[in-house]
């Protein structure tokens, strides 16, 4: 990185700390610390909701995913506008009027203490496990970009975020999120512009759209109904609906945001803002990935995008096999590039017969490139402990090699911003759940405001330190364990949503029904996940449905006190 890039990056870090600490000044009780005194404007809350959801991996991983797989991932987000209406009508006013600190606190008022404790515990388990990975995953990529040691990146990212989160609580988090989200929007447009402007001079925008289409990368809607197919319109609408509803409705990192708004109206407006901006934002991120794919049709990409893994292969006994596959890759790449150029020329001339013929050649050449890349991945895989997934390195690799001085610093700041906003949101949410649902509820129900404020800050420091430690050790776990941690954590979403739906929709139900439903839902999700081959998105629908069915059944089987009295 050049000195200008470093200045931009350091300026970003300094601005983040300044905003965080500046907003930490007001408020000396837990209402200020965890709810920002319910006085934050809706647009800041809305940007904060989006910033918490958009992690660094969303930013770089989604671009890489579009590079490999096209636009299909966008289908997950399509139900969001409909989900937001449900949130505006039910979840948001219920939480807001109940004047709760955590979403799970509401469940004690509706059901009982054990339901609150179970759901809060499940949330803390899932988020506690994943928050370390939220720091670790981008740190690996950023270490390569910055030329830093992995642990240095983790420490800088963790410590900076923890500093303002622990000091200022949710107010500092929301205002830094707001700045970070604005930076992400700038980065998003800058990224798209940079990729399009990097296309060769003779490849027009229309040519790029055409090549994206003929290689099946503009596949925003997939109408197939195979349940094993990860991203389809059906899995997006069904699974995505429950995923979004559980994330925005029951995850404390989101709920904590929209209960900080000044009124129910402002709370709703912040959600509406997310509903309107989310899909266009994801479209732009994914489109950047597709244009990146087109760019690499004419510019030779690295045979494998993760340079750290290439170094490991170079030092292993698979070195010769890797070199051989890479030479083969270069050959097939040149063939595809030449065919692609001829195809575009024929298209410009309007020669449809030649275009059709060259299109078949181009697709065959593309298959050869993919087959050779698969061989390279097999070679990488042969090295023990290697990571064969380089999807997170596609966009950073482009940034480092093709982006002009100054903008590299901006793009790295954007990735840092995306990571820090998610980490801060999750640490603040974990802190509130531990402090309000357990410490204040069970250990110290009567104490001064100052005591709770200090306890809250201690909880934030605990979760921040825990997350940073997990991130430091995650590197030694191996890829499969990191993925397992993320996967197991995501299994808790559905059952938690089921409990909330039972609370809102089934008036008959009580705490025992909810508890039984939650356990059954959790077992059903874990069983389905490990025994059946279906898209993970459907798991988000299975959890709440099982909780509702078991909860309703239990409410009819176990007699209610009023019914017992009648009989």
């Amino acid at each position: 990185m050049s000195i200008i890039d470093w200045i931009i990056f350091i300026a970003y870090l300094a601005l983040t700390i300044f905003i965080g600490l500046f907003k930490s000044r007001r408020g000396k009780d837990i209402e200020a610390y965890y709810l920002g005194n319910r006085s934050i404007p809706w647009w800041a809350v809305g940007l904060s909701v989006m910033a918490t959801q958009a992690s660094a991996i969303t930013f770089i991983g989604t671009t890489g995913q579009a590079f490999n797989d096209g636009m299909r991932f966008i289908q997950i987000y399509l139900p969001l506008p409909f989900v937001v209406i449900i949130l505006c009508v039910t979840f948001a006013p219920f939480f807001y009027r109940a004047r709760v600190y955590t979403a799970y606190e509401y469940l004690e008022r509706r059901f009982d203490t054990k339901t609150r404790a179970l759901t809060s515990f499940l949330f803390q388990c899932s988020r506690g496990m994943s928050v370390g990975i939220v720091i670790y995953a981008p740190s690996v990529v950023l270490s390569i970009m910055l030329g830093w040691n992995e642990k240095t990146t983790i420490l800088i990212m963790g410590a900076t975020t923890l500093l303002y989160t622990a000091m200022g609580g949710v107010r500092a988090v929301v205002w830094t999120d707001t700045m970070q989200m604005i930076l992400m929007f700038i980065g998003l447009f800058a990224g798209l512009y940079l990729v399009i402007s990097a296309l060769p001079g003779d490849v027009s925008f229309s040519d790029a759209i055409y090549l994206g289409g003929v290689t099946n990368h503009w596949n925003a809607i997939d109408t197939s109904i195979n349940p094993a197919n990860q991203y389809t319109l059906l899995s997006g609408l069904v699974g995505g609906f429950f995923l979004m509803l559980s994330y925005f409705g029951c995850d404390q990192s989101q709920v904590q945001r929209y209960i900080t708004a000044g009124s129910i109206k402002e709370s709703r407006m912040s959600l509406v803002m997310t509903a309107i901006l989310k899909v266009p934002m994801q479209f732009l991120i994914l489109a950047t990935g597709v244009f990146l794919f087109v760019f690499y049709q004419f510019e030779r990409p690295p045979a494998f995008f993760n340079p750290a893994e290439i170094r490991r292969v170079e030092e292993s006994s698979s070195r010769d096999a890797f070199h051989k596959s890479r030479e083969e890759f270069d050959l097939v790449f040149d063939r595809r590039k030449e065919t692609g150029e001829r195809l575009l020329e024929a298209r410009r001339r309007g020669d449809s017969v030649e275009t059709e013929r060259l299109l078949i050649d181009f697709n065959n050449a593309d298959k050869e490139v993919k087959a050779t890349r698969a061989k390279i991945i097999e070679v990488v895989k042969s090295v023990p402990g290697s990571n064969t997934n380089d999807v997170n390195y596609v966009f950073p690799s482009f940034i480092l090699k093709y982006v002009p001085i100054g903008l590299v610093g901006l793009m790295i700041s954007v990735i840092f911003a995306a990571a820090m906003s998610s980490i801060a949101g999750e640490i603040a949410a974990l802190s509130s759940a531990t402090m309000v649902d357990f410490y204040k509820r069970y250990f110290k129900p009567q104490a001064s405001d100052l005591h709770y404020l200090r306890a809250g800050q201690a909880c934030t420091l605990f979760w921040g330190a825990f997350a940073t430690l997990i991130a430091m050790f995650a590197g030694g776990w191996g890829t499969s364990l990191v993925e397992t941690v993320n996967k197991v954590g995501s299994h808790f979403y559905g059952p938690i949503l089921g409990v909330f739906l039972l609370a809102f929709l089934v008036k008959r139900s009580n705490g025992t029904d909810a508890f039984a439903g939650a356990i059954a839902g959790l077992v059903a999700v874990l069983f389905t996940s490990y025994k059946l081959e279906i898209s993970w998105l459907y798991l988000n629908a299975i959890g709440p449905v099982v909780v509702l069915v078991v909860g309703i059944a239990s409410s009819f089987i176990i007699p209610r006190p009023s019914e017992s009295r009648k009989s």
Partner: protein
């Protein structure tokens, strides 16, 4: 005394300017997104 602070706003602004209007707008917006993406896929993919 009306407990819902939003209700008076809804009544003052009227149906299309109030929450119901906004919800209908969001539903239409969501459906239009799906349709546009489907047409986009058909046209360019």
């Amino acid at each position: 005394m009306d407990e819902d602070p939003d209700k008076s706003t809804d009544e003052r602004i009227g149906f299309w300017g109030g929450w119901k209007g906004l919800y209908i707008f969001i539903i239409v917006y969501g459906l239009v997104q799906v349709i546009l993406l489907y047409l986009f896929t058909l046209r360019y993919n």
